[in-house]
């Protein structure tokens, strides 16, 4: 139970971070609450997938969070009348692997004086993690566009298919 409370707290703070970046990027005020919701959704999914019971790695967790934001950004951008990137980019920024990037650079710096093999392999590992997490975030955000082969979210059709209506 405490695990879940922890996740809800982290999700809340992810939402706050997303709103902070939305304001830094000068997003329209009507999009801010939506950004908070999407940012929280991303954080919630990321930390849920990271739970030992689920057992996904950090890359899968980031991809799941980003994909959720990508799909959520389509109805939300209709709702708030803004382009989807205005919602999706600030929402996934809390998932950016800052600590991996930080350790990569620290590792590189310590490699100047400490030439042990272990330093190099650890640094390379952190660098690769940084790259793949960012790749997962971008792919997750663009996934709906790639799947639906659309140029604009206004063309997404939410109505039920014809064969369903005839029943």
């Amino acid at each position: 139970m405490t695990d879940w409370m922890d996740i809800v707290f982290k999700a809340f703070w992810c939402g706050c971070a997303a709103v902070g970046f939305a304001i830094l990027f000068n997003s329209p005020a009507r999009a801010l609450f939506a950004v908070f919701l999407c940012g929280s959704l991303a954080g919630f999914l990321k930390f849920s997938v990271l739970l030992p019971g689920v057992g996904g790695g950090i890359i899968m967790a980031s991809a799941a969070g980003a994909a959720a934001v990508g799909f959520a950004s389509i109805p939300v951008s209709h709702w708030r009348h803004v382009p989807p990137i205005v919602i999706s980019i600030p929402s996934v920024i809390p998932l950016i692997p800052g600590s991996f990037a930080y350790r990569t650079i620290l590792g590189l710096i310590s490699f100047v004086s400490n030439t042990e093999m272990e330093v190099l392999t650890k640094t390379a590992h952190h660098g690769v993690m940084t790259f793949f997490i960012i790749l997962a975030l971008s792919l997750g955000v663009t996934l709906p566009m790639l799947l639906f082969r659309i140029e604009s979210v206004k063309k997404v059709n939410y109505s039920l298919p014809d064969w369903w209506k005839k029943k």
Binding site: C16, F21, I23, I93, P94, G98, Y102, L108, S138, E151
Partner: protein, 258 residues
């Protein structure tokens, strides 16, 4: 919609160039710029051929079988930033043009005013970015003292960045300088003994400088097939990341944390 007069292609062309440059300046991805501009041109019965870089744009207009009737280009002096209000405004305008057929004059009025759209007040930006910084600190596992220090460091660093942007320094110098200032705030708090372990605060105080829009746009451009623009943005983001890291390393070296 206006009748097709002699000067219409030239006016439409200039409008498209202005809109395109505004989108590039505001951090829109390549596909988004091309989609928006094509929607504009199609609404007035023209076809736009757009050649797009990350700092320049050229447009040729033509109509069905007839030859080229307009070409022009624009470029910007500085690297693009992020302004989502401008992207929203132009996206909405392109839909209004396509659906309601508003006239060229009205579109020109809106495009000319697009950079007059107000930004948030400076204290608001500082406050919320500070909160974002401490939120990062929490998700990385920091305690409440570290969160408070990160808030302070982020706000001071961003204030310094805004001042440097105002004085038109080189963007990578701005990023480096802001990283030094933000990390130095944490370093000073550590030196005067507020908290003995500030690893989380050091790592998260500089995260407001992360070029998130560039990183994500870089990959999106690559996926969409705008390879050169994607690589351009990717290298740009990498240089920013390296500036951040050098700034942080400078401070860690000065305070002998390393």
């Amino acid at each position: 919609m206006t009748g097709h007069t002699i000067e219409e292609p030239a006016r439409l062309g200039n409008l498209l160039l202005q809109a395109g440059i505004a989108l590039i300046k505001s951090g829109a991805g390549s596909s988004r710029v091309i989609t928006n501009l094509s929607r504009f041109a199609n609404a007035y019965g023209y076809e736009a051929n757009v050649d797009l870089g990350t700092r320049n744009i050229s447009i040729s207009l033509h109509r069905e079988t007839r030859g080229n009737i307009f070409s022009g280009s624009r470029s910007i002096a500085t690297l693009p930033g992020a302004n989502f209000k401008v992207i929203t405004a132009i996206s909405q305008l392109s839909w209004d043009v396509a659906e309601k057929k508003i006239s060229l004059e009205e579109s020109e009025k809106i495009i000319n005013r697009v950079f007059d759209i107000p930004t948030y007040k400076r204290p608001v930006i500082l406050l919320f970015t500070g909160i974002a910084g401490s939120a990062f600190c929490f998700t990385f596992g920091g305690n409440s003292i570290e969160m408070a220090i990160t808030f302070l460091a982020t706000a001071v660093g961003l204030f310094f960045k805004q001042e440097m942007v105002h004085k038109k320094y080189n963007p990578f110098m701005i990023t480096y300088g802001s990283a030094v200032v933000a990390a130095a705030v944490v370093g000073i708090c550590w030196k005067i003994g507020i908290e003995s372990n500030l690893e989380h605060a050091f790592a998260t105080s500089i995260l407001f400088l992360i070029p998130g829009v560039l990183l994500i746009n870089a990959i999106i451009d690559l996926i969409d097939g705008h390879i050169i623009n994607g690589v351009d943005r990717g290298i740009n983001a990498l240089l920013h990341a390296f500036s951040i890291a050098s700034g942080l390393a400078t401070v860690l070296y000065i305070f002998k944390v390393l």
